[in-house]
Symmetry: C2
Subunit: 480 residues, 2 copies
C-alpha cells in the first residue's frame, strides 16, 4: 500500500487507498462527489452515530425527521442564508413529465425546512428550551475538488441539532452544553481538537457567531469536524418563531445549531492510521478482536476449536469478536485485519492450546504479549483502555506539536513551510488586518481561541500588519 508519509501530499493518496481497500466507500459511483458506503465503513459510522444519539438522549434532545426537499419560497426567507447557499444547492425543477409550480431544493442544511414548523410548535415559555436533532443526507454542489468523507456533494451522515431558547443567556448555556457533548464524543474517538470562534467574514450564513472545531491532519492541514452557531433572533424574525412570556408578551426565540458529519470518520482514519492502514478505537470498531488460528502440520490439537471457545467467551462478555477461519495463510489474514484497523488480534497455535495461553497483538503499538487463557477477557478489556489512552495521548501530542504561537508574519510563514498545522498570531481585531494576514500566509483564519479566556496572554503584543495593540490571538491554517 501507499506509504503514509506524514507531512507530504502523499497523505492524500494514502487516505484514498485506505478508504477503498479497507472497505469504507466505493468511489466509482457515477456521480461526482457521491460515494457508496460499503458494509464495513457503514458499521463504523453507525457506531459513531450511536454515540451521538446517546449524547442527544442524555441531554434531552428529541429526534425528528424532516423532508429532504425544501420549497424555494421557504428557502428564500432569510437573506444572509440564501446568499451563503444559493450557489451550492441542487434544484428539483420537474416531477414526472411536468415542471413544478414551486421549485424545490435538496436541503444543504435544514434551517429553512425546520423553522416554519418551529413557529407552529413553539407557543409559550413552557415549550422552551426546545431541543431537537436529526441525522440525514444533505446536498451541496461543491465546486472545489471533492474528496471522500471530507468534501462531498452528498453528505450521507449529517448530524444537526437545532434548539430554541427564551433568551441569549440560555442559548449560551446551550452552546456550552454542545461543547461538553462534543468533548465527550471526541474522547470516544480518541481525537484531540481545538475550538475557534470564526471571524465575522467566515460565520455560518445567518449566524450571530460561529464556533468551529478543528483537527490537524497528517499533512498539516486542518479539518473542521464540528460547528456550533448562536443565531440570536435572526432566523426567529425571518420565520416568525415567537413565544409567550410569563407576563403575556410575545418575544422571538433565540436559536442555536450544532453540526457534525462523516468528517468524524475521516478524522479517525487520518489521525490514528499508519502505514499498514486504519487503527480504530475499540469504542467504534465493528470487530474489536479478531482471532487467527495458526494450525501446524501434524499438530494433534485443534486450534480452531480453541479459537472458537475463546471467541464465545469474549462474545458473552459483550466484546465484538470474529474468528478468521479462511483457508489462506495467517500472514495474509494479519495484513487484512491490520488494514481494517481491528484493535486486537489474538493468535492461537498448537503451543498455545497446549500451554493454555494466547498471543495478543495490539494494532496501535504493533506489540505482542502472551496471556494466560484464563486472563483473556480481563486482559482484552484492559488493553482496550490502554489503546484508548494511547491513541488519545498520541493525538494530543500531534495536535500540540502542530500549534505554534509566533509574533511576526515571517515566523508564521516559516511555520507553514516547516510543519504547517495551526499558527497563532497576535491580532488587533480589524477585518482588514485579518484578511491581509490570510493573503500573506496563503492560509485561512480559523478564528480566535474559544472560550475566550484562552486569549488573555497578550500584554504588549502588537498586530504584525498595522502595529496596533493586539486584542486577540488569531489562528491560521491551511484547511481542507
Amino acid at each position: 500500500m501507499v506509504e503514509r508519509k506524514r507531512w507530504s501530499e502523499a497523505f492524500s493518496d494514502w487516505f484514498n487507498e485506505v478508504i477503498e481497500t479497507a472497505g469504507i466507500l466505493d468511489k466509482r459511483y457515477p456521480v461526482k462527489g457521491m460515494n457508496v458506503w460499503l458494509p464495513y465503513g457503514l458499521k463504523i459510522m453507525r457506531n459513531i452515530e450511536k454515540f451521538i444519539r446517546e449524547e442527544m438522549e442524555r441531554t434531552g434532545h428529541q429526534e425528528v425527521l424532516f423532508p429532504a426537499l425544501i420549497p424555494e419560497t421557504e428557502f428564500r426567507k432569510e437573506a444572509e442564508h440564501i446568499a451563503g447557499f444559493e450557489g451550492e444547492v441542487f434544484w428539483v425543477t420537474h416531477a414526472g413529465l411536468d415542471p413544478l409550480d414551486v421549485r424545490l431544493i435538496l436541503r444543504p442544511t435544514s434551517e429553512t425546512a425546520m423553522y416554519s414548523m418551529f413557529s407552529l410548535w413553539i407557543r409559550s415559555h413552557a415549550d422552551l428550551p426546545f431541543k431537537v436533532y436529526q441525522i440525514v443526507n444533505v446536498y451541496r454542489y461543491e465546486t472545489k475538488h471533492t474528496r471522500p468523507l471530507i468534501r462531498v456533494r452528498e453528505i450521507s451522515h449529517f448530524f444537526e441539532a437545532h434548539t430554541a431558547h427564551r433568551d441569549f443567556e440560555d442559548a449560551e448555556r446551550q452552546i456550552r452544553e454542545d461543547l461538553e457533548i462534543f468533548d465527550r464524543l471526541m474522547r470516544k474517538l480518541a481525537i484531540a481538537y481545538i475550538i475557534s470562534k470564526r471571524p465575522e467574514w467566515d460565520k455560518f450564513p445567518g449566524a450571530f457567531y460561529s464556533l468551529g472545531a478543528e483537527v490537524v491532519m497528517p499533512d498539516g492541514r486542518t479539518l473542521q469536524i464540528g460547528t456550533m452557531h448562536n443565531y440570536k433572533q435572526n432566523f426567529a424574525r425571518a420565520y416568525n418563531i415567537l413565544y409567550e412570556t410569563e407576563t403575556g408578551d410575545h418575544e422571538y426565540v433565540h436559536q442555536t445549531t450544532f453540526g457534525m458529519s462523516e468528517r468524524l470518520l475521516a478524522a479517525v482514519i487520518a489521525i490514528h492510521g499508519d502505514d499498514r492502514g486504519m487503527v480504530l478505537p475499540p469504542t467504534i470498531a465493528p470487530i474489536q478482536v479478531v482471532i487467527v488460528p495458526i494450525p501446524k502440520k501434524d499438530a494433534e490439537v485443534d486450534v480452531y476449536a480453541y479459537a472458537r471457545e475463546i471467541a464465545e467467551e469474549l462474545k458473552v462478555a459483550g466484546i465484538r469478536v470474529h474468528v478468521d477461519e479462511r483457508d489462506i495463510r495467517p500472514g495474509r489474514k494479519f495484513y487484512d485485519w491490520e488494514l481494517k484497523g481491528v484493535p486486537l488480534r489474538i493468535e492461537v497455535g498448537p503451543r498455545d492450546v497446549e500451554g493454555k495461553t494466547v498471543v495478543i497483538a495490539r494494532r496501535d503499538t504493533l506489540t505482542k504479549e502472551t496471556v494466560k487463557r484464563a486472563r483473556v477477557v480481563d486482559r482484552v478489556r484492559e488493553l482496550f483502555d490502554e489503546i484508548m489512552e494511547n491513541l488519545h495521548a498520541r493525538a494530543r501530542e500531534w495536535l500540540e506539536s502542530h500549534i505554534k504561537r509566533v509574533e511576526t508574519l515571517e515566523e508564521a510563514k516559516e511555520a507553514f513551510e516547516d510543519r504547517r498545522g495551526v499558527v497563532e498570531i497576535p491580532w488587533c481585531g480589524e477585518e482588514e488586518c485579518g484578511l491581509r494576514m490570510e493573503e500573506v500566509l496563503d492560509a485561512k483564519m480559523l478564528g480566535t481561541p474559544y472560550p475566550e479566556e484562552e486569549a488573555l496572554r497578550l500584554e504588549g503584543k502588537r498586530c504584525p500588519v498595522c502595529g496596533g495593540e493586539a486584542k486577540f490571538v488569531a489562528r491560521f491554517a491551511r484547511t481542507y
Copy 2:
C-alpha cells in the same frame, strides 16, 4: 376524538387524527405528500427498523448505503423499469446557478443506482449469493390523493434488500427466505397478512414475477405492506452483471428484491387501534409501561416515591417505563397514554402503597387487575405476551372474516358492498377475463394466493367471465 367507525370512510378521519394527536407526524410541512416525523412516531419506526436490521443480520444481508441521486443515463438502461417510473420521478436539473450536464433523478427505488456497482463487485461464483440492503428515503411523484404513511411523495423509511444468485433456483430460495423474514416481522407487529402473486399486468416494472403482502384495513380496503420480486436475469442483462462459473464460463446473475416501508407503521396503527387511539404491541412501543401516581389529599404515604421505585425495578428488568408526574388530573393522563397506545398503565394510589399492590390496566382489552408489588415485573412480562397473543389473534380473526370465496361476480359485488375485504373468485388465467372482473367489481386483482398450492381447490369451478375452466383463484380488493 373522531369515532373510528370500522367499515366506513370515517376510518380515514380517525387515522389522520390519531397520526397527528398521538405525535406520529406533522402534516403541515409545506410540500404536498411530505411530512415531518415527530419524536414519538420516529421512535416507534426506529423500533420497527431495529427488528428489520436484526432479521437482515440473522440472514447474512450486509447493510450498504447508496446515493439518493441517480444519473439519467443509468436510469434509462432497463426499458420496462423506465416505462414504469418515468411518470413519477423528481428531476434534479440544476445545481447552483447552472444546468447540469447529466440530469439526476431522486431514487424512487434503487435498482438503477445499485446495479452498475453490482457489475463491478460481483466477479465469480464465490461472490454468490450476494445479499445487501439499505433503509433510505425515496421519492415518488404520486398523482393520486396522498395520505400520511400510506401514499406519500417522500418515503422516509424505505427498506430494500437486493440479492444476486447463480441460478433461478437459488433466487427462489431467497424468495422463500424473504417470506420467512416477513412472517417473523409480522409476528413482532402482531399483524395478519396474505401473500399474492401479482397478475402479469401489475408486476413491478422489470420483474419476472412479483409477490405482494396485504393487510385488510378497518375500512375494508387492502394495504400492500411488503413486496418480493424475482427479476430473473432481466436487470443483469441491462447492467451487465456477470459472474464466472466453476467451469470458467460467464453467466448473468439472477436477482431478487424485497421491499417494505413506513406502511408497516400505518398497518400497526390501523389494525390494532380503537376509539381511544393507538394500541401498540409492546415489542415496538417506545414506552411499554406508564406509571400514573394517584395522590389523595391528606394521605400520608408518598405515591410518587412508590411509583419511582417500581419504575426503577422495571427499568432494571429491561422494560421501557415512564412515570408521569405532570401536575394534571389522572384522567387526563390516562387519555394521553391511551391515545399514544402505551400497552400497560400502572396506577398507584395511597391504598396501593399501604397494601403493597398496584393496579395494572391493559390498553388492548381495557381491563384492570390488582397485582402484588413483588409480582409486578413478572406480571408485566406475562401481560406483554398475553397482549401480543391477543393482538395477533384479533388481527387474524379480522383478516379471516374479511376474505370471502365466491363463485359468481354477483356474489363478489355483494361481498364488496357488505364488508369489502378480499374476494376470491375462480379464474381461467386469461388477462382479458381478469381485467374484465376488475372493471365489473371496481376492484383491483391482488393476484393469486402464494405459495401456489393454496390455489388447488378448484375442481369443476369455472371462470365467471368466459365460462372456461378455472385454473387459479384470483383475489380482488379495493386497495389503498
